[in-house]
Symmetry: C2
Subunit: 407 residues, 2 copies
């Protein structure tokens, strides 16, 4: 039985990063991507906003991450973000770091904001220096009054569609809006990926509270998706809160905190799921729900291992109800559980009952794997904790895209 929870927030049609009050966003084509595609995006807040970020755990952290982290560390505030696609400015040494600083300075000057209030992000090919003449000319061409949809397009690489969402929620009786845009596609794995996500809100909330909120929400959204098990050098989620809504400052003791958290978390999960669904070569979103685990960590580990398994992913692509691979992946997760208690469902078709094959109709099970969203449920009968992980199938197109990314 599905429990219907009354959502305290409203999803905005065509919502985006400029849905919250006081934000603008736009994009331009500056010649970094082939075919004159949009490749430079920017977000601007009319007033300095509380800011927080989470960053890749890869040992190689790209130059723009170092520069953006430095900006946020100064006052916990940002007023503008500039993003380029096609080039990650990663593994580019000192020259790359200088280029990221130059990019930040040029952008801050163009908007007339303090250097420390500007953030930079890059995504694309690793190990090539940014063509700074194009980047600088591009930033000089930025004019406010842009289209948020252009921003969403400008940050893409091998993505096939934009990823945008916004919700509104009543806090202290005033409407507070949260918007977001993200890009994903390859190198997507728990603990950040070549994944960039930008969240804006007109809520009033201090930077330290925002940081805790972002970390907590990230652990159950962006960090629960995987495309190919690789973690990029450039992953980053940034959130800006400019206080334009006029609510009282939010913190965990605030009467409407749970409502705000739920709305914020919805935005995180929606962006994460949109990234997973649009994984390189993906034809389906895969959602793995792990129930009755001893700990939430073990539930998460099992979910992520299943959704990351190439054998599970290819079986889903082929709509083959080969549940042995799901069991095998669960057994590789490092989690401790009794294999004789595990049950598995593909959609609503039970395929494993207490560690043994359940009697099921192959056709019905295969049909469950042909849905646009494939749901796999694992019940461990070990405890009361749960977790959900998201990913996608592994198709011929994944190989095609990645065998010739540069050429």
């Amino acid at each position: 039985m599905i429990k219907t929870k009354q959502a305290a927030y409203t999803i905005l049609e065509d919502g985006n990063v400029s849905s919250p009050g006081g934000f603008q966003a736009g994009g331009a084509a500056i010649g970094l991507r082939k075919g004159n595609k949009l490749d430079l995006g920017w977000i601007y807040s009319e007033v300095p906003a509380s800011a927080a970020g989470v960053y890749t755990l890869n040992s190689f952290r790209a130059a723009p991450l170092l520069v953006t982290e430095e900006s946020i560390r100064q006052e916990g505030k940002l007023q503008g973000i500039v993003v380029n696609s096609a080039n990650a400015n990663a593994c580019t040494g000192e020259e790359g770091l200088i280029n990221a600083y130059t990019m930040r300075q040029t952008f801050a000057d163009q908007l007339g904001i303090p250097t420390a209030y500007a953030a930079v992000a890059s995504t694309g090919l690793i190990g090539v220096q940014l063509p700074m003449d194009k980047v600088i000319d591009g930033i000089h061409s930025i004019e406010l009054q842009g289209q948020a949809d252009d921003f969403a397009h400008a940050i893409l690489t091998t993505d096939t569609c934009t990823k945008q969402v916004a919700v509104t929620v009543s806090i202290d009786g005033v409407p507070v809006t949260i918007g977001g845009a993200a890009k994903g596609s390859g190198m997507i794995h728990p603990n950040m990926a070549t994944m960039l996500a930008f969240v804006t809100t007109d809520a009033a909330i201090p930077a330290d509270v925002l940081e805790q909120l972002l970390k907590q929400s990230t652990d159950q959204s962006y960090n629960m998706i995987t495309i190919d098990g690789d973690t990029s050098t450039n992953d980053m989620v940034l959130v800006l809160a400019n206080g334009k809504a006029g609510n009282k400052e939010l913190h965990p003791g605030h009467a409407d905190w749970e409502k705000f958290y739920a709305a914020f978390h919805y935005v995180s999960q929606e962006l994460a799921k949109k990234i997973a669904r649009d994984g390189e070569g993906a034809t389906k979103l895969v959602e793995v729900r792990v129930q009755h685990a001893a700990t939430a960590e073990e539930a998460g580990a099992i979910g992520k291992t299943i959704v990351a398994s190439s054998l599970v992913k290819t079986a889903i692509y082929g709509a083959d109800p080969n549940w042995g691979r799901i069991i095998m992946a669960a057994g590789n997760s490092g989690a401790t559980f009794n294999p004789n208690n595990i049950s598995v469902w593909l959609g609503d078709v039970q395929v494993v009952q207490a560690g043994k094959p359940a009697a099921f109709d192959e056709q019905s099970a295969s049909k469950q794997l042909k849905q646009q969203t494939v749901v796999i449920t694992i019940d461990l009968q070990e405890g009361s904790e749960e977790a959900t992980a998201w990913g996608c199938d592994l198709s011929y197109d994944y190989v095609k895209i990645n065998a010739s990314y540069r050429t």
Copy 2:
């Protein structure tokens, strides 16, 4: 410069598991695989042999592993091994366990050896009960004087070729021979995989020494290969030493121990590399050498992470010298090193020098990735430890094979 070490052992042409004295092996077609392929294999030693095994670390351990481990635990001896392909007898509950015991008993009776001297192994589809009538009839049809090549064929699943090797080495002035056969293909990952390997030797060596030798050699051979990052429920390496060569009992204090170890380890590495080269859909063997690491564990972790990365594997398939992905994978390994010191070579073409792009010719680098064996070298400049990992590229055929394995 390549250092040529005088090998103390000789590689036997067409060597196999019956090359050592006192061993026989064979195979039969008993109707488990489609197209009347060989699907039941056996090895027999004329006298009880010292025996040791290493097993999968997957939480789900298939029934035949439990039964074989029980056999070896009793006296540290084996005299016969029976293997079926097409069905893994994994996740089959109590019925599966009873079937594995029945398989062992039937085989022991057929050969006239004690039950505790018989081992069983299975590989293939998970979660389906063995058709015991076929298995029992098949075992009853076993006659000694078989062909070792038939054994090597009978243990295959999606493998495209047999994997066999044998070497001879002089110990105490008498020739000692070591032979092996293996199967691999999918679900191959460090710490065992759907990988079965069987090693025979006529050396005299006690079971406890043999077990230590096997574990040590496994860590630098079978456990250093990966095909798709998944670890099977059925992986097992068994070694039998029947003492027929007439050498003095081997142990680490024996004057010829190093020679014997080198010969034994060559067999392990050759079988492991043959498995990696024949990974599902593979077109090339990939060898990743990590040098000057702080610890051997970190060197191994970096090598395995690189060779397991889908993005690295697809780039190698496409002969795209996209070294950023190699760097990215190294950064995801969990090893600690200074990114500014790392250097990378594709074959003999240096592509990264101290953390930054080296000037290199794209054509030459791409040519390195078109070899039958692609060698990637990573130099960390952190210490003096090293490790080598093996894998394969990721092609369209991997997807093809795995999207329709059962159908």
